[in-house]
Subunit: 560 residues, 2 copies
């Protein structure tokens, strides 16, 4: 390490730790009438948010929660979740945001692995909790969350009901300072194999991520994604990377915030209309669902800015959203990255270019957020050129990446091999630094010595007028190693078969966009494509289904 | 300290230090054609900026500069200064930005006190440097900066000329990682008494300040102060708090940047027009000068966004600028605070209010930037209420405050008494958290047991049509302790005397805005008001002048 000049602070100087409590100041200072809204159940102002956070801190402290303890939350997206995202870390504890869409066995695993001491349970999950309660090894107390009238439930060691306890608690809490490298949040990410893995983020990381997001959303090309006059509603769950960290940003900027509970499309559209929502974030499949839901049919979504991520954004969806007035901005990140890594940004030349070219860049993963460093490497860990052609695993350095998987030293070392975080994504980088995600490493289809990106193929197939949704996976083939297989959902009244799809793809082969091995020789047309608990295409499940259909010669299949 | 959960990073995990080199990535990545412009002398793109910074790092390293050394710069605002603001800290050294408007004795003092090892000297300052060179105790080498043809000068231990050395150096430098708490910059601030005091900022502080500024400029109320499509030109000197840190922000966002050299109003207006400048920052006196310069007379400055700080902004100047198309945003900070602390921000209610009320809030110091904590205290250190009435010394906590004065333990302890940075400014805070600076503690006029804010009085006096500029100071009075004295510059062809001024102020007494003791019984009308080296009213000097005029019964004086 270089011998730089490091001066000890003056006697009495306050060394400012980057703590989550510092994000809570703006709204309560100068946007006092701005509201936090929970469906049609509750609305209150920022000063009340601060007060409720202090009350919750007192409730937890009185229930025995100590700094360093882990407190789990099982709830839909609500004002309560927002309060937990502040109060729990602000007393020095760790909030474990439980993915309620995992199987009971997986939830049980994560709760024991995270060593949860205290659990806040929504009444909708009481049955689920009861089923695993007997096997929980570290939980001491529970607290009931409810939208209904019932103020108790059959929960072991129940401390009480959230609103009743808050009402009885003191609205003052002197939140302490502590090490900014203290863990603030944790949650589990599920891979295709093995147990869920716990990622974790510190106060410092979350504060820096919040400022990084605000920097980007305030300055991006010709767009101003977030001003203090925006109204925010999340459409990715709070249990999933803290709703992409945007509740922290919205609170820091003092925005009106709208929490929709469960993600029922009609409710989302109604809240959007009634609360004048102008800023959201979601994954492509949810946006798809939104655009097609009944309530949305006659809506002009003009002025709604949505950050889209989680999976690649295809041109068809971008254009469909745009036709409805929605301004989409693609972004990239993952559970391990807090999550924001990059965001579509059009530089001066691209902004002046053709609409077609602009869209090409609007749907890519975009350029790294300030401070973030991105590179691509080959299988041996060699850096590859940023030439827009070379494909390699995307690796990252940034101030807000998980420093490992909780109590998984081997997987952690793998994640951080060579001092870079390995994303498991195959990407190209162009000369502008634009990241273009080509595929998950494990989803790339290896056929006849060629690599075919399942994402590229999904994009081309989605351009056929009949196609509403598509997933492409590789299936084992004795001759070619693997062959692409397309799973399709078609629009009402439309139809497609393997031959029609081949005709649709042929011109792209002729243009050199794909090689001829990329044309699927077998497809299946279904009514729904399996999704993971966070709304991504569940390719693991799709592969299992295909094997079953092929074995039973299912009617879903269409073969060339 | 609380026992929170702190987890050691995984084997191999990269712990991201907040270093200035990280701010340099965006422009060179995706705004490659954006330019850095130096007057009509030079223009180049971001990739060239990165390359030149690497070349400069090599020049310095080869000249023997080591991590921990202090490197001084004596230059006008230029591309070279920008390069120094990156290259010097990026090799682990400290850049000392010398205030070239100080007296030679003061410059000598600061250079010896800062222990400067290496000095970059603009040819305009060679004479000045020669005059003090014999008394410099730590300087080993010098380097010549020049816009002209001459590539050498009579400088002791001259290494060479900047452009020639850069051209000969390698364009590659592998900038190292090191402790983010390493000092990156230092400069000296002059008080009314004693020697200049050295403040200093670390890499961590400058990165956080940069993100804090970007957060604010991107999200402020209805305004978008900075988008990546803006063109930046500083109009506060780079030696003064790194041009308020905005060059770092502009570089992080990849903006076109225009450096004007010396602050000649006609040149500034010409650069503004030709380079399409849309974002600047300056102090009120410079703005005044700009609006009145010859070249500006027929210009419509529509779309020019200017952050104004350094001294209070009065309504008359705000309106004059607005009438010319300039959108002013008031901000507050000081040398000790890096500098940004607060920025005018109108919340939803104020934006919906009357134009008159909006202006009232547009010219105040504004609300604290996210993460910044502000409070007011009385003389005994007790916190005062944020009621818009109570006046006290403004004290601060933020992630980017100087941790002391260099090698001044006593003054440092005073600065940080009670764990808060003492600004020396008297302010009120209202319920919204809006900071309203009333005066410097030492400029408050104590008369007959009442405190009169010299700033309030300056604001009211400036509303008289004849008044172009005004400074109010307290002068000793045997009966009242102190009495206000007004120093005025009038518009061409206009005139004013003490009696006319009294008639102008009477209605404000009747309205209760000021008490009757606030009406000056003596004024002076002059052609120029003395300013400090950074363009603020030099009240210390004004007091000296007044005593002299009173002793000689000067013709400048007008008495009731």
């Amino acid at each position: 390490m270089l011998q730089t000049r490091v001066i000890a602070p003056a006697q009495g100087a306050y060394q400012f730790p980057l703590l989550i409590k510092r994000l809570l100041m703006s709204g309560s200072r100068y946007e006092k009438t701005r509201e936090i809204v929970y469906r049609d159940q509750l609305r209150y102002s920022y000063p009340t948010l601060n007060e409720r956070i202090a009350r919750l801190a007192n409730v937890l402290t009185e229930a025995g929660v100590k700094a360093g303890d882990t407190v789990a939350v099982m709830d839909w997206d609500s004002h309560r979740y927002l309060e937990c995202m502040f109060a729990i870390p602000m007393i020095g504890a760790v909030v474990h945001t439980i993915n309620v869409r995992l199987s009971p066995e997986q939830i049980l695993y994560t709760m024991n692995h995270a060593e949860d001491r205290f659990v806040l349970v929504n009444s909708d999950f009481v049955g689920l909790y009861q089923a695993i309660a007997g096997q929980l090894t570290t939980v001491q107390n529970t607290l009931l969350l409810t939208d209904g009238e019932e103020k108790t439930a059959e929960l072991p060691n129940l401390v009480g009901e959230y609103e009743q306890l808050l009402a009885a608690a003191s609205p003052h809490y002197d939140f302490p300072d502590f090490d900014e490298n203290s863990v603030a949040t944790t949650f589990y990410t599920t891979g295709t194999t093995g147990n869920p893995k716990g990622v974790y983020f510190t106060h410092r990381q979350l504060v820096l991520h919040t400022m990084g997001v605000a920097t980007v959303t305030g300055s991006i090309d010709s767009v101003r994604l977030l001003g203090t006059d925006d109204v925010y509603m999340p459409i990715t769950p709070m249990f999933h990377v803290h709703a992409w960290g945007i509740p922290y940003v919205a609170t820091m900027l003092g925005l009106k915030q709208v929490y929709p509970g469960r993600y029922e499309p009609d409710m989302l559209v109604r809240l959007w209309r009634e609360e004048k929502v102008s800023f959201s974030h979601c994954v492509p499949t949810i946006l798809q669902m939104l655009l097609h839901c009944k309530t949305a049919q006659n809506e002009d979504f003009g002025g709604w800015k949505i950050i889209i991520g989680g999976s690649a954004l295809n041109r068809a969806l971008y254009e469909a959203a745009k036709a409805r007035g929605i301004q989409l901005t693609a972004a990239y990140g993952m559970s391990e990255t807090c999550p924001l890594i990059s965001c579509a940004h059009l530089n001066e030349e691209l902004l002046a270019g053709s609409e077609d070219e602009r869209i090409t860049y609007r749907i890519k993963a975009g350029v790294p957020v300030p401070l973030v460093e991105a590179a691509i490497i080959d299988g041996d860990g060699n850096f590859l050129p940023a030439d827009g052609e070379s494909q390699g695993e995307l690796v990252l350095r940034a101030p807000w990446l998980t420093m490992g998987y909780f109590r998984e030293p081997e997987k952690s070392e793998e994640l951080w091999a060579g001092g870079w975080l390995h994303t498991g994504d195959v990407a190209t980088l162009d000369a502008m630094g634009v990241i273009d995600i080509r595929d998950r490493i494990k989803d790339v289809i290896k056929t006849g010595g060629e690599w075919i990106s399942s994402l590229d193929l999904e994009d081309l197939i989605s351009r056929h007028a009949a196609v509403r949704e598509v997933a492409v996976v590789g299936v084992a083939d004795p001759q070619w190693g693997e062959r692409p297989f397309a799973l399709l959902v078609v629009h009402e009244g439309a139809s497609i078969d393997a031959r029609v799809l081949k005709e649709h793809l042929k011109p792209f082969v002729e243009l050199g966009h794909i090689n001829k091995w990329a044309i699927p020789s077998q497809i299946a047309v279904v009514t729904e494509i399996p999704k993971t608990s966070v709304g991504k295409l569940d390719k693991k499940r799709i592969r299992v289904d295909i094997i079953e259909w092929q074995a039973s010669n299912s009617a879903f299949l269409s073969t060339l």
